[in-house]
Symmetry: C2
Subunit: 153 residues, 2 copies
């Protein structure tokens, strides 16, 4: 019963969000892109850092390509004015400071792009030590941006 | 007030989902991946089909790479037993038939993979007519799978 109620509530809330304007859509695209990246980050972490005995070159390469594809996809276009407020799949965690720190954000975004594209290149070599080092750099670039413009959970 | 209430309800529902088991997580990864792909499909449709005057080679190439990255990311691993029921970002639309039609699904998934990888290649040439044709093939492969195993909205 509790599950059914939660489901009904979520569906109602989702329907509300779906009918909303483009800000909510932009937030949903952002959350989808970063979640897709996070899934792939998790795959690389598992195979390169936590359980290197499970390393699979094809899987890690595909995951690195996925992260690079997210980095290269032009996410900046989704950060429209006012999109620090709104519900995508859930309430956005974007800090209002984003819009006051655009130069800093651009610099961090470029660092992420370069690190992710380099990771895709390094992944294709199959050199696990190089992948691990470059994966660390991608993680640092993610964290720098999160610290600057994402509300902590 | 209505907005605040909806937000509170959605956050509560999301928190419930976040505490749930791996099926809900798998559904959320799936929905994120396909939503990220859909955003990129929309970009190509806009620049190649609806408003060809806005065509930008870099943007369409990045979008095609993003769709290919989704196709190559090993989504099959997320279709765990029982995941035709559950809430990711929202209730899954996977039909239970999925688990009875795995051979057919695999065939369609391979068609999608090949079509998406070919689109990424064709996008890099900048030949808009070729891109449009191949984009149509990707769309057909998406639709074939949706018709077979996705509940209509």
């Amino acid at each position: 019963m509790k599950k059914k109620l939660t489901l009904a509530i979520l569906l109602a809330a989702t329907a509300t969000a779906a009918l909303a304007g483009p800000i909510e859509e932009n937030i949903r695209w952002r959350q989808s892109a970063y979640s897709f990246a996070a899934w792939n980050v998790q795959k690389i972490k598992s195979q390169v850092v936590d359980h290197p005995d499970t390393y699979n070159k094809d899987s890690v390469t595909a995951a690195a390509n996925a992260i690079a594809a997210v980095a290269n996809s032009g996410l900046g276009a989704l950060y429209t004015e006012g999109s620090d407020q709104g519900i995508g799949w859930k309430q956005t965690r974007l800090k209002p400071e984003f819009f006051l720190k655009k130069d800093e954000v651009t610099k961090l975004a470029n660092t992420f792009n370069e690190a992710a594209n380099e990771l895709a290149k390094v992944a294709a070599t199959g050199d696990v030590n190089l992948i691990k080092t470059q994966f660390g750099k991608v993680g640092e670039s993610c964290k720098a941006c999160h610290d600057l413009i994402r509300i902590k959970e």
